[in-house]
């Protein structure tokens, strides 16, 4: 995604400004597909800073972000009489935070989906994020950030985060874009889309999100995929609002709806749409 594609709301912008000025980690939550991960990439581009990404998995431990001591390699090398064995620092593997702290330029660190990890994971990072320094036990070094990096943390609400951790962060909840913002986002991606096609598509999309009982609401990225298909097929602008509706849309809905029951609901919605437009 290039610079111009990412639309940032005023609120989010202020949040980022504050996090930059006060050098505090920014915790970002929001519905899937609202561009949480993209935010860090975008900021790094705009302030021209190196970006360090740490994608957290259920097996990730806090230490891995700092460093790891590769004892097994060292043991093996010792068997082969490798010269490197004498210096333990040859076997210290740097983690994301190490690289970010030692970067000459102010860096942007993305800790993606922190809620995926073990429940104690955020607690294990408290000191490191607060002081922006940590000790390397094996070499008795202390790694301190030359410049405090901007830390962006994303969470999908799968686990609650501990209070002590939250206290140290700024928190921003990215709302699902409203219609005007969404139009801006779409315009940034597909500047040449036909206006009337866009309008009908947006109507369908936002109607769809309103449908009660939808298992998975379609998100921004899904709307964009869907529009891409519509554009690629070069549909006539009336296609979404006319009688063809019922035959055309189901060919494309795979981009929007990822669940059988939802598709069912969708079909009903299209039917209603058709009746209303008669």
């Amino acid at each position: 995604m290039s610079n111009a594609d990412y639309i940032i709301t005023d609120e989010l912008q202020q949040a980022v400004d504050a996090a930059l000025t006060l050098e505090r980690p920014l915790l970002v939550k929001g519905e899937p597909g609202t561009g949480k991960t993209q935010l860090a990439i975008e900021i790094a581009q705009r302030i021209d800073a190196p970006l360090f990404q740490w994608h957290v998995k259920s097996t990730t431990r806090a230490n891995q972000g700092l460093y790891e001591y590769d004892a097994v390699s060292r043991l093996r090398d010792s068997q082969l009489g490798d010269e490197r064995v004498k210096d333990i620092s040859n076997y210290i593997l740097h983690g994301v935070l190490w690289d970010a702290f030692t970067s000459d330029q102010r860096a942007v660190v993305l800790i993606d989906e922190i809620d995926k990890a073990d429940i104690e994971f955020p607690n294990d990072l408290l000191q490191e994020l607060d002081r922006m320094s940590f000790n390397v036990y094996e070499t008795r070094e202390t790694i301190t950030a030359k410049q405090r990096p901007l830390v962006i943390i994303t969470s999908n609400n799968e686990k609650e985060l501990p209070d002590a951790f939250l206290r140290r962060c700024f928190f921003h909840y990215i709302e699902f874009p409203d219609k005007p913002t969404m139009e801006k986002i779409v315009a940034a991606h597909y500047p040449s889309i036909k206006q009337d096609l866009l309008k009908s598509a947006m109507d369908v999309f936002f109607d769809l999100r309103e449908v009660p009982g939808l298992k998975k609401k379609p998100s921004t990225s899904e709307l964009l995929d869907w529009l891409k298909l519509l554009i690629a097929d070069d549909l006539p602008s009336e296609a979404l609002g006319s009688d063809e509706l019922r035959t055309v849309l189901p060919q494309m809905h795979g981009a929007l709806l990822k669940n059988e029951q939802d598709v069912h609901l969708f079909e009903r919605l299209i039917f209603l749409h058709k009746q209303r437009n008669r």
Partner: protein, 402 residues
């Protein structure tokens, strides 16, 4: 003035801490979130509120506090820090506010920090250079302010832009998430018994070193199994009737326990344990498991946790045929003793407040039957219960075989 706002938030039971309040002050002293009330709103929310389901409550407090005070906000802009940080007369505080100050770490500590901030403030803004944009760090190209000190957004007071907090946009966010299971999980976690079982797939570093040394330096790699939580839990939950009031709490416990214990078995009962329990509430009448079967199936090492409000007629515990649902041949008390005999590590969690325990006869009886091992279904209660689960109850002289 700000402190007053802060106490308003605390009064509304928003979990805001002193640290976060000081963050807010630090930001203001660096000109973040000043200039107009909208910016202040956003910045305050960013600092103080860490959960989107609390956004709506924050909006309401913000609204009730700042309604009619917008003018005061503008007036105070020039006077930051003096007026904002000035505390109202100490003696003029109500008892409640005093208690709050104590809760925030004591008066002196607070004053000290505030004084420090005040100092920094005067150093940074002397002369007419206030409000010169310090926003060069902004990645987004705007947000720089007029260096003459003219505010954006008109004269202030009336006719300003839409107030975000009045729209109450976050109303729907409440209740869409897993509620408060974290504390339960942490409490349950202390029941862990880590053992090494299964496939050896982790390098045993110490073992390898020892073996290699014994092997005169030739590498001899030792592997061992990963440590896993091997504790077995049998959960019996009371459903229906008076338990309906406690459903939410029980669901929390259940979902916390489910994710914490690999070997968790659960069954339901109604009011009290008799000869049968069941696994699916909608098939409870034809798909039951008898308690003797339960005892046969699950080994003695299972930890038994009973969850119920224990509020019923004493007959339901003590008498034959006392059950409200069926004719039970033997009183419930006998059944619970049989369970205890087998699962000697057992506790009862009661969602009812402990104030009522003494006045409800059935709770007193059951507590006695449980050898006092009844605890409230709360974080502290679970902690105590887990502690109790570590020791078995004394053997029971029940000879009444089924």
């Amino acid at each position: 003035m700000l402190l007053d706002f802060f106490s308003h938030l605390r009064k509304a039971r928003l979990p805001v801490s002193t640290t976060e309040y000081l963050n807010l002050l630090e930001g203001l002293s660096k000109n973040v979130g000043v200039l107009d009330l909208n910016r202040f709103y956003l910045f305050a929310r960013l600092c103080l509120i860490k959960d989107e389901s609390l956004y709506d409550r924050f909006d309401q407090v913000f609204q009730s506090y700042w309604a009619g005070r917008e003018a005061a906000f503008d007036l105070n802009l020039d006077a930051i820090p003096d007026d904002w940080l000035k505390l109202s007369d100490k003696d003029a505080l109500t008892e409640e506010q005093k208690a709050m100050v104590e809760a925030m770490g004591g008066w002196d500590k607070l004053m000290e920090t505030l004084a420090k901030r005040l100092e920094e403030q005067t150093e940074e803004h002397h002369g007419g250079s206030k409000w010169i944009g310090t926003r060069g760090t902004s990645p987004f190209g705007h947000g720089g302010f007029n260096p003459e000190g003219v505010r954006i957004g008109g004269k202030g007071g009336q006719g300003r832009a839409v107030k975000v907090w009045e729209q109450r946009r976050y109303k729907d966010l409440d209740g869409t998430r897993e509620l408060g299971t974290r504390d339960f999980k942490v409490a349950l976690r202390s029941l862990r018994r880590l053992t090494r079982e299964g496939r050896p797939d982790k390098l045993d570093l110490n073992g390898t070193i020892r073996a290699t040394a014994q092997n005169a330096g030739l590498l001899d790699i030792k592997m061992r199994a990963e440590r896993r939580n091997a504790v077995n839990v049998l959960l019996l939950l009371d459903v229906g009737g008076s338990m309906d009031y406690h459903t939410a709490l029980c669901e929390q416990l259940f979902s916390a326990a489910r994710s914490e214990f690999k070997h968790l078995e659960y069954f339901y009962f109604h009011n009290f344990t008799y000869e049968k329990v069941w696994k699916h509430n909608n098939r409870r009448h034809n798909d039951t498991v008898s308690v003797p079967e339960l005892i046969r199936t699950y080994g003695k090492k299972y930890r038994l946790i009973l969850v119920g409000d224990a509020t019923m007629s004493p007959y339901e515990v003590l008498a034959e045929g006392g059950s409200v649902e069926h004719w039970n041949q033997e009183p419930g008390a006998v059944w619970i003793q049989r369970l205890q005999q087998h699962f000697s590590h057992c506790v009862w969690l009661n969602p009812e407040k402990s104030d009522y325990w003494q006045t409800t006869p059935s709770i007193r009886i059951i507590k006695e039957l449980m050898h006092d091992r009844m605890f409230t279904l709360s974080v502290n209660g679970i902690q105590d219960a887990i502690e109790a689960l570590k020791t078995p109850i004394p053997p029971n002289p029940v000879t009444n075989e089924p």
